[in-house]
């Protein structure tokens, strides 16, 4: 079927000037939702280019558990999201139950570090 030509023919449609208002875009941050282990449940918003998770007081995301290494996992800003890198931890980094050394995180990923379990949610 051919597109209707009605709109072009209709000179009755009133022209409107629509002002372009400055639009504020609210970015939703990437988050880690901790679902198991000390301090859970909690929601951790991820901000910054590099974050360390571990049990040491000097880290960005501290989980007080002997099952975590002092500096266990590093999150690096990567292609608009985060890449998680195991810092040679004793108990490892498990991504969806498989031991990995690093991974670009995706929405819904489960991350296990010792007895702490997180779900990664991609922001916008």
């Amino acid at each position: 079927m051919l597109p209707s030509q009605d709109d072009h023919a209709d000179h009755m449609t009133e022209e409107q000037l629509v002002p372009l208002l400055p639009v504020q875009v609210y970015a939703r941050p990437h988050v880690l939702q901790q679902i198991r282990g000390p301090l859970s449940p909690q929601i951790i918003e991820l901000r910054g280019d590099q974050l360390i998770i571990g049990r040491n007081p000097d880290v960005d995301i501290r989980i007080p558990s002997a099952a975590l290494s002092r500096h266990h996992l590093r999150l690096d800003k990567y292609q608009g999201g985060y890449r998680a890198v195991d810092l040679d931890s004793s108990n490892g980094f498990f991504l969806n139950e498989i031991r990995v050394s690093s991974a670009a995180l995706r929405d819904g990923d489960t991350i296990q570090l010792g007895n702490a379990v997180f779900v990664y949610h991609e922001g916008k």
């Binding site: 890449r83 490892g92 050394s101 690093s102 991974a103």
Partner: protein, 300 residues
């Protein structure tokens, strides 16, 4: 230092960018394997471009690598003209993908850069590109890593590779229609759940590997209309992994029609099959951007 495997492209046949393939990735075959300082690149599908970008950013220069190609289908060579480190004069790449005396492989790899196809000629690759071969397919040691190869069932042929050092081993076996090599293919028609005997040569080639990266393109439902296209049922690969007692199986070369959800369904079916066969082999879908370290314990 250590033994690392990283997936740069895990898709079969053609790149599949887009929202429905965001999780597992849309780039075609490319896997990086590092044993301490030795770097191996398995296949040069479109994932090779991003590996190249990453290698340029790493502190180790010049880049020296062995490039092992399974075969010369597009989805395994197409990233090569976009592999930036190949344009840097100090770098060295030794290329393997054919038996001795077989010139076709190097002709095809460079032929895709002829002016009809690509604006930059092969001669513009200023790195030291060394065309080598797999000899008579016997085992050899490259930078302290024992490399073996295996001829697979695929239109035009393809090679699987086994890389081993210090008792750790990875097997890369893509574009491999294992289903056509079954000694008794009728067993699948009679009973989908029955164990499938895999030829012993392939089982011995994979025996006890820390990781088997294997073509598992099709589901049970997809395979019957794709017989002879060169790729197996993922479930048949599970039987191979179980019979060879490999520790981990990465299902690789995902079909371009499969969304992330489809791949997860396929992996779920593979895991159920392994459980029914009484195996504790860890099975997962090879996923772009994931790196494994294979000289560490696999379970918590």
């Amino acid at each position: 230092m250590g033994f690392y495997v990283r997936f740069w492209g895990t898709r079969g046949s053609i790149p599949t960018p887009g929202r429905t393939t965001h999780r597992y990735g849309g780039n075609t075959s490319c896997v990086e394997i590092r044993f301490d300082d030795a770097l191996f690149i398995l296949d040069g599908g479109t994932g090779l471009r991003e590996l190249g970008v990453d290698l340029m950013r790493r502190p180790q220069h010049p880049v020296v690598a062995h490039m092992l190609f399974s075969h010369m289908h597009w989805d395994h060579i197409q990233g090569f003209p976009f592999f930036t480190p190949a344009y840097v004069p100090q770098n060295t790449f030794t290329i393997y993908g054919a038996t001795s005396g077989d010139r076709r492989f190097h002709q095809l790899l460079s032929g895709q850069m002829r002016s009809e196809y690509f604006p930059v000629d092969f001669s513009a690759l200023h790195s030291h590109i060394v065309p080598s071969d797999l000899g008579e397919l016997s085992a050899r040691t490259l930078d302290g890593v024992l490399v073996r190869c295996f001829v697979q069932r695929h239109p035009g042929g393809s090679f699987a590779y086994s890389l081993e050092k210090n008792g750790h081993r990875v097997v890369y076996a893509t574009d491999n229609e294992i289903d056509l090599t079954l000694p008794d293919p009728s067993v699948v028609q009679r009973d989908l759940l029955a164990p499938r005997a895999i030829p012993s040569e392939f089982i011995e080639f994979c025996r006890g590997a820390d990781l088997l990266i294997c073509d598992g393109q099709y589901t049970e439902a997809e395979y019957p209309s794709k017989v002879g296209w060169g790729h197996p049922r993922a479930t048949t690969v599970v039987d191979a992994a179980v019979q060879a007692a490999v520790k981990q199986l990465a299902i690789f070369h995902h079909d371009p029609m499969q969304s992330d959800d489809d791949i997860e369904q396929k992996i779920g079916d593979c895991r159920s099959r392994a459980r029914r066969l009484g195996s504790d082999c860890l099975i997962f879908a090879a996923r772009e951007g994931v790196e494994l370290r294979l000289d560490t314990p696999l379970t918590p």
